[in-house]
């Protein structure tokens, strides 16, 4: 690979990495939101039962 | 005409307060001199003398910051700002009054700093003075608004430099350019543009910064 190609690849990879990082962070966020919804559903069920 | 009466009243209030307490302006003057002295020790001997102009501008920006940090301090401590906002005056009059006071403080500090600079460092020409005058307007306009924002925050004095410095980079460019370039007119015109744009923007949006 010529030097130029290495740099081009680096730039493209950086952007790709950033997008993938975002996706990963988002996956964690969604997991947390799901947990919260489950907690709140539990709370609501207990409230209704009481 | 009551708008300008309000502005004058507010500006007079700040100036009178300063005249009686004498805490901000002497501090600013001492600060800018001290900063210049520190700068004189911080650059190596082989650096061009013209670099000192840049140091002067850094000193001025930080002196402005010092003055601005105190700008709304009195209001905040006495909870006066809420009272002012409730008063039936146009909120932007608060900004204008405060801005005028800050310009006055800066002028007083510069009246000492510029001759000192002329004595210790490099000659001060008319372009530098014009640049400083124009820069004062810009720094005070933007600073008065940002100081109001910082006063409402939890971190206050810490926040103001973070908000202020990126916004005044163009002022530094204009000022240093006016001091150094062969054609200072372009830089002075640019400072004028900065002043016009940001003064109008600050004036128009100040109301939103102090109200819900």
């Amino acid at each position: 690979m010529s030097t130029a190609e290495k740099f081009i690849a680096a730039a493209y990879l950086v952007v790709l990495a950033a997008v993938l990082l975002y996706v990963v962070i988002y996956a964690f966020k969604i997991a947390r939101l799901e947990r919260e919804v489950a907690e709140l559903a539990e709370l609501a069920r207990r409230r209704r039962a009481a | 005409m009551t708008y300008f009466a309000d502005v004058v009243t507010l500006a007079r209030k700040d100036l009178l307060l300063e005249l009686r307490s004498r805490d901000t302006v002497p501090a600013m003057v001492l600060f800018v001199i001290a900063a210049l002295v520190v700068f004189s020790f911080s650059v190596p001997a082989d650096v061009e003398e013209r670099a000192s102009y840049g140091l002067l501008w850094i000193g001025l920006v930080f002196t402005a910051l010092l003055g601005l940090t105190r700008a709304f301090a009195a209001e905040r401590e006495q909870r006066v700002l809420d009272g002012l906002v409730l008063a039936p005056c146009d909120r932007s009059a608060i900004w204008l009054g405060k801005g005028i006071a800050v310009v006055a403080f800066l002028l007083l500090a510069e009246a000492v700093a510029l001759p000192a600079f002329h004595l210790f460092f490099e000659p001060v020409g008319w372009e530098l003075v014009a640049g400083v005058l124009l820069a004062d307007v810009g720094l005070a306009s933007v600073g008065a608004l940002l100081a109001a924002m910082a006063a409402a925050s939890r971190t206050r004095e810490l926040l103001l430099p973070l908000l202020f410095l990126p916004l005044v980079i163009p002022v530094v460019v204009g000022g240093v350019g006016a001091s150094l370039a062969e054609d200072p007119g372009r830089y002075l015109a640019f400072l004028g543009l900065y002043d016009a744009v940001f003064a109008i923007l600050s004036w128009a949006t100040f109301e939103y910064v102090v109200t819900e």
Partner: protein, 220 residues
């Protein structure tokens, strides 16, 4: 989300074309980086512009919902600004041999903007949530968009005295043929679509957060 799909197709197509289809540019074999760097930069501007628009709507209508939209747009803008700085830096390393050059207007402008909008987050974190914070953030976002052209002008003026361009004559851009333009437009569209997709996602996530918090408060 069809937006994400559009983003994906456009980007892959555009970047693929940039890498394989267009002819090499004389004297600048690393030119394809521009198909990444310039769209990313323009997208960052677009995000900040969008944030300023939402901020203006907030101040105009006093509708609190615009605050979240403005905030998310600034967030996206900062992400793309960082990417602009990184890709620009990579190109600078290739062309000038250094990771940073003060003579690059684009890079310096983005550094200033990055500083400015980072302070936006500091502002938000230091003020109690509420209409006051929304107002202040909106005003700050407006200052940002005004700062953009003013800074650019300042940086250009600074070139004469403070950051002169390197003695080597700056490389002439390649002839912008129709093909090059087409690929560029595709890449730009793809990048904008990507920003829009990320923005919508982020906004939905934040809104969900808010509603869950309300729900929690009403249940406890």
């Amino acid at each position: 989300m069809w937006l994400a799909a559009a983003a994906a197709t456009l980007l892959v197509a555009g970047l693929g074309l940039a890498l394989f289809w267009i002819p090499e540019v004389e004297g600048d074999p690393a030119f394809p980086i521009f198909y990444l760097h310039v769209p990313v930069a323009l997208t960052a501007y677009a995000c900040f512009g969008w944030a300023a628009w939402k901020a203006l709507r907030l101040l105009w209508t006093r509708e609190g919902s615009y605050d979240l939209e403005s905030y998310t747009a600034v967030h996206m803008g900062v992400i793309f600004a960082i990417l602009t700085l990184v890709t620009g830096s990579i190109w600078a390393k290739y062309t000038w041999g250094q990771w940073w050059v003060w003579s690059s207007r684009q890079l310096v402008l983005f550094l200033v903007l990055f500083l400015f909008y980072s302070a936006y987050f500091m502002l938000r974190y230091s003020v109690e949530p509420g209409p006051r914070r929304a107002n202040m953030a909106a005003v700050y976002a407006l200052f940002g968009i005004v700062l953009l052209p003013v800074s650019f002008l300042a940086i250009r003026l600074a070139e004469d005295v403070i950051h002169p361009p390197p003695v080597v004559v700056t490389r002439e851009g390649p002839q912008i043929t129709d093909e090059l333009m087409l690929v560029f437009v595709v890449c730009l569209a793809g990048m904008l679509a990507l920003a829009a997709a990320l923005y919508t996602n982020e906004l939905a996530g934040k809104r969900l957060d808010g509603r869950l918090r309300e729900l929690r408060e009403s249940l406890q």
